[in-house]
């Protein structure tokens, strides 16, 4: 064979070594999604078989040679109802099942570790909470739910990991999230699946799934020295956010301590839960997100902070457990080590000042 055609031989051996019908199942959701996939596949195959059998069978039985005389039949309400109701029922099962999967893929569990991913033409940049950066890669441990908070800096991108069966669009101007829990170590594809311009097909990377121990080592090996929250703290100070957002009784802005996860009432009466998306919006479009009791005086930071900067700020505010930290940034320019902040917080002084309208 190899004498006849080396190219063909190469091709065949390639096929045999690489042949796969399904991508690896490397996340917790993958088998669940595959189960639904195989269910629909089964229904499709049965449906297709029925149609083909009908077509071939009738063609053979009623070909002109065998059946020269056509019998005129009007139709059959019973049959037609049958093939209306049965597909409808099957489709509804698929809908419900699919909706459950969809619900799971887009509802992160409470203990998920958050990783920010910024998409830009044409690369993925992942930011781990400890300050580690991944370019066109994502390092994650097994056995730990990972929530990915996505944002795009320019156009629509789509964050797709086929082995995990997850995909989510990175949208300019808005956070979206997806989560997964990797189950098998290895290196998997990371694709951008939404067409995003010239370098679209170069916007690919590797998802490296490691054991928790390896992950820890990796974290230590690639640390940049300061966490996202620490970067955010510095940015918070340099933008003078603390001029208003402090806990003093005459503060012009609400205290941000413990604001993450709380329920706020806005000046237009709307009730919101403070999450990453809300914090981002409140920084960039403050007047639509004024806490009740305050004036809409905050300037917008649209166009002044990069998406990474916003992420740093969000991460800082998330970890802002008391206004003590705000005071510290007001008074000192040096950064407190993480542990000291924690200790200070334990010391009390955590009551947030009630909101007041500045006269």
């Amino acid at each position: 064979m190899s004498q006849i055609s080396p190219v063909l031989w190469q091709f065949l051996s390639k096929w045999l070594t690489h042949f796969a019908l399904f991508p690896p199942e490397a996340s917790k959701i993958a088998p669940q999604l595959d189960a639904l996939y195989f269910f629909i596949l089964l229904v499709s195959l049965v449906g297709l078989t029925i149609v083909v059998l009908l077509l071939v069978g009738f063609s053979v039985l009623y070909s002109k040679e065998r059946h020269p005389v056509a019998e005129q039949i009007e139709g059959s309400t019973l049959l037609e109802t049958t093939w209306t109701i049965i597909p409808l029922g099957l489709f509804l099962i698929m809908f419900v099942w699919g909706a459950l999967i969809y619900f799971r893929v887009f509802t992160p569990p409470a203990n998920a570790m958050n990783i920010y991913v910024v998409g830009k033409q044409w690369m993925w940049k992942a930011e781990h909470p400890g300050g580690q950066h991944d370019i066109n890669a994502l390092h994650i441990p097994t056995g730990q739910p990972i929530q990915v908070t996505l944002i795009s800096q320019d156009v629509f991108h789509s964050f797709s990991i086929p082995a995990f069966r997850v995909k989510r669009e990175a949208i300019p101007g808005r956070y979206t999230t997806v989560w997964f829990e990797a189950t098998r170590t290895g290196t998997y594809h990371l694709f951008c699946t939404q067409y995003c311009g010239t370098g679209h097909s170069a916007m690919i990377g590797d998802v490296v799934v490691m054991t928790p121990d390896d992950y820890k080592k990796w974290l230590q090996g690639s640390t940049s020295g300061h966490s996202l929250a620490q970067d955010g703290e510095r940015l918070f100070a340099s933008l003078s956010c603390n001029a208003c957002h402090n806990a003093r009784p005459d503060a012009r802005g609400p205290s941000l301590a413990n604001v993450y996860g709380s329920k706020l009432t806005l000046s237009n009466g709307q009730q919101v839960t403070v999450d990453e998306a809300y914090l981002r919006q409140a920084i960039l479009n403050p007047s639509e997100h004024v806490t009740q009791g305050y004036l809409p005086i905050m300037p917008t930071y649209q166009g002044q902070i990069s998406e990474e900067g916003v992420i740093d700020l969000v991460e800082y505010i998330k970890h802002l457990d008391s206004d003590y930290r705000v005071q510290q940034t007001t008074n000192t320019t040096t950064l407190l080590p993480e542990s000291e902040g924690k200790a200070a917080q334990a010391g009390g002084n955590s009551a947030a000042a009630p909101g007041k309208v500045n006269p």
Binding site: L284, P286, S287, P296, M298, T300, Q302
Partner: protein, 252 residues
């Protein structure tokens, strides 16, 4: 039907009785022709409804998102001018309806007069609209690089940013003030599309005035005037929605 080819010549030679010149060859009767073209005109207007429907969808979404900006920006429009324009357009619609009536009752001079009046009212409408556009342009309220939010962050500097009692409106926060550009995007897109429809209509009106002076439409076949009337009334209806939606936000 099998012998159809045999008599092909007889039918094609045209043995139709009563064949008015405006009856086209593929219709059986004038009624059928009028019915069909009238129906077609309505369908065309329905495509227009969907076209403006897309714009109204965009308007609806952004007005909900940026209500303060829309409310403040709409104060830049002159209700007086808008109201006058509405009345002008309604009047032109009325004269157009009279033109249809004149054509149907075969009053040639009445038809010409009504078409001319309709045309002139259209000119006045567009004149006022142009004046309004110019005002926006001069104040840098045309969307684009030179857009200015001055009037909205500092309403005291702008005589138009006042409420019904004449007191200055509250200033907008800078980020919300920037959203007023969205309002003007939609303002220009929607009124611009409306004005474009009027321009097309007025082009057809000129054509019809000349034909009417030559005696067309008043000799029993007035359908064309009727179809144009439908178009003109439709353009009028669009304005009846644009006026309150763009001019009358939060005027109290």
């Amino acid at each position: 039907m099998s012998d159809s080819t045999a008599i092909a010549h007889g039918a094609a030679a045209g043995t139709h009785h009563e064949h008015p010149p405006y009856l086209r060859h593929h219709f059986e009767s004038v009624d059928q022709q009028t019915d069909a073209s009238n129906f077609a005109m309505w369908l065309f207007l329905l495509t227009e409804v969907m076209f403006f429907g897309g714009l109204f969808t965009v308007y609806m979404i952004y007005r909900n998102w940026y209500y303060p900006a829309f409310s403040a920006a709409s104060h830049q429009l002159d209700v007086m001018l808008g109201g006058i324009n509405t009345v002008i357009l309604i009047t032109s619609s009325f004269t157009m309806a009279l033109a249809v009536w004149c054509a149907e009752t075969r009053k040639k001079s009445g038809l010409v007069a009504m078409l001319v009046v309709t045309f002139l009212l259209g000119v006045v409408f567009l004149g006022i609209k142009g004046h309004e556009y110019k005002e926006k342009w001069d104040k840098h309220h045309f969307p684009g690089a030179s857009y200015s939010v001055q009037a909205f962050v500092n309403p005291a500097s702008d005589p138009l940013q006042v409420n019904a009692q004449g007191k200055p409106l509250a200033p907008l926060a800078p980020d919300m003030a920037a959203r007023t550009e969205m309002y003007f995007c939609l303002y220009f897109a929607m009124t611009g599309m409306h004005a474009l429809h009027m321009l097309i209509g007025m082009g057809i009106l000129i054509f019809m005035i000349f034909r009417a002076r030559a005696g067309a439409y008043t000799e029993g076949h007035s359908a064309y005037v009727n179809y144009f009337g439908l178009y003109w009334h439709f353009v009028d209806i669009v304005w009846l929605f644009l006026f309150p939606l763009l001019y009358l936000i939060n005027r109290h």
